[in-house]
Amino acid sequence: MKWLAAFGRFWWDFVVGDDWRVAVLVAVAIGVTAAAAHSDITAWWIMPVAAPLILWLSLRRAIRSA
């Protein structure tokens, strides 16, 4: 059980890292893309716009907390 928790923590740290907001915002952006695509709205541009915004927010947060 302890090993399983450590394994889960490793993957969480590995993928999500020290800013979980990035994961949440990426999930939201993908959700918006999927909703737009399934409503026949051109959606390919959403992720390229969202990714730099998410990165910038995360950078600002890292600098503030440094």
Binding site: F10, F14, V15, V16, G17, D18, D19, V22, A23, V26, A27, I30, T33, A34, A36, A37, H38, T42, A43, W44, I46, M47, P48, A51, P52, I54, L55, W56, S58, L59, A62, I63, A66
Partner: protein, 248 residues
Amino acid sequence: MSTGNAFLFLSAFLASAVEMVEALTIVLASALARGWRSSLAGVAAAVVALAAITAVLGPALTAIPLNALRLVIGGLLLVFGLQWLRKAILRASGFKALHDEDAIFARELADAEGAAHLERAGLDWYGFVLSFKGVLLEGLEVVFIVLTFGSAQGSIPLAAAGAAAALVLVAGVGFAVRAPLARVPENLMKFSVGVMLTTFGIFWSTEGAGAHWPGSDAAILGVLGFVIVVSLLFVQLLKRERLEAVTA
């Protein structure tokens, strides 16, 4: 080789090389302080464990429908890539210290030299465990990258070939110099990997969500160029901000 496949090979090569440089530092420190035999046994045990994980996860991933796979893997790669890119941008702009393999090597070496001797199965246990953990943890990242990149692009063997090429290069150079590879431009490599992970993440998550790229697969070049330009712009903006803060 198509554009997508060339990127796949290069991304797997670069990402694996970065992780292997870090693993090499730990193995070298362990070997020099605790002996080569125990350290190499730890490396071998970790490689067997990684092969077993790959053998289980690889076929499981290929059984998932491609669009669902690209949605999940694209999202994961984007989260993962943005974390790499954030750290690389913070380092490039001076907000975070550069990764120093020499300092890490010195620290690992001092720890390994100071640890008590305990023998198990004819091996120095500290040296064995240190090498095993170092190679397993860094290797898990390589496995994750190879399997996710390879399965989403439909060619796990090509991604594995990229990782194998990195292994041959890093292990070969490491064996030749028997010192941590401190002269490797690690942040530039991490920056490049972050750019590629983010590019693939944007591309696949968009396709997986059901949207279609203008120009189909060729759009990946446009996404790559866009991510590079934006990342370099962020580095410049943060450099200027840091300079203003220092001179203020």
